[in-house]
């Protein structure tokens, strides 16, 4: 006998959350680098703006990563609560902050580090609650954790 279905699902949830968070953070870093090269929407109008988006070398890879992130999050929804998944994905702020400080080289202000610490505490709290609090149809046959 290998690990129980419950262990497997817990491990898979952690792995999938990591994928969501990492693809989201890196995708957003690319999108941010792309958006820095964009003019203001209000000034240039829709057509020029959309043309600028398509020609931008960072936007497309950013969108691809965002797509992977979205698909992974959808599969999480197939076995875990919305109110579990969404707060946990907030750990992408922690990654974004680390990227900003150590890769982009921005000086991250103390208040933001305090915010990131709060987010971390919040994610830990949420992660210590059961994955699913109501029946999800079918699947691995894991009984719904009630306690």
């Amino acid at each position: 006998m290998g690990p129980s279905a419950n262990d497997r699902r817990t491990g898979r949830t952690a792995l999938f959350l990591c994928i969501v968070v990492l693809t989201n953070s890196f995708g957003n870093m690319l999108l941010a680098m792309g958006m820095e090269r964009m003019p203001s929407f209000a000034q240039v109008g829709l057509q020029t703006y959309v043309a600028g988006l398509v020609q931008n070398p960072f936007v497309l890879p950013g969108v691809v990563l965002a797509g992977i992130s979205a698909l992974t999050q959808l599969s999480l929804f197939s076995w875990a609560d919305l109110s579990f998944v969404i707060p946990c994905t907030a750990s992408s702020y922690v990654i974004s902050m680390i990227l900003a400080e150590f890769i982009v080289g921005e000086q991250v202000h103390l208040v933001r580090w305090a915010g990131v610490s709060l987010i971390f505490v919040g994610v830990v709290l949420v992660a210590r609650t059961p994955l699913a609090t109501k029946p999800h149809a079918g699947g691995l046959g894991v009984p719904v954790a009630g306690s």
């Binding site: 958006m35 203001s40 698909l71 919305l82 933001r112 999800h136 079918g138």
Partner: protein, 169 residues
């Protein structure tokens, strides 16, 4: 000036994002857990995703939220507008409780509150905390119009971005 467009963008970003989350979560929980990650299983999962009406509607909502976010990020009024999107975490938890009927444990509510407050702190633009604190800081736009309005907005309504917004020349 905080134009009405800014608030329309905020409203659309937050509400459309949460609608998308609820629709997708509801659609995905109907079909059983995805637990086959061989290529054939992934194809089946993708086919399930693109044919499920709620998930498609959710995707439309995400798209609306995404483009509205792009619009929001291109306005010069980020210092109130962007922190307002931290509310999407609370909105999601409320929707999960009252629309999806999840039994949200107390510990999870506490976690959501921490995350929301943390996000408020993280997305506040500018180098220094505002006097009086809180997200509802007033008069954010006394920026030199001719200069750069520099702002960092992280993970807004599920997307995060770090941008430099050019104010009007």
């Amino acid at each position: 000036m905080t134009g009405p467009m800014t608030w329309i963008f905020v409203l659309i970003t937050v509400c459309a994002g949460s609608c998308g989350d609820v629709l997708c979560a509801s659609g995905m929980s109907q079909g059983g857990a995805i637990d086959d990650f061989r290529p054939s299983g992934i194809v089946r999962a993708v086919r399930y995703i693109v044919t499920r009406r709620r998930v498609i509607l959710g995707g439309v909502c995400y798209a609306a939220a995404f483009f509205s976010l792009l619009g929001l990020l291109s306005t010069a009024e980020l210092s109130i507008a962007v922190p307002a999107t931290a509310l999407s975490f609370v909105l999601d938890a409320l929707a999960a409780r009252f629309i999806l009927h999840e039994h949200v444990p107390r510990k999870r509510w506490a976690g959501v509150a921490c995350v929301c407050m943390g996000v408020l702190l993280v997305v506040r633009p500018g180098p220094l905390p505002r006097p009086g604190g809180g997200a509802r800081a007033t008069a954010p736009a006394q920026q030199d119009r001719a200069g750069h309005y520099e702002s960092r907005a992280h993970n807004v309504g599920g997307e995060s971005a770090s941008i430099k917004v050019l104010a009007e020349p």
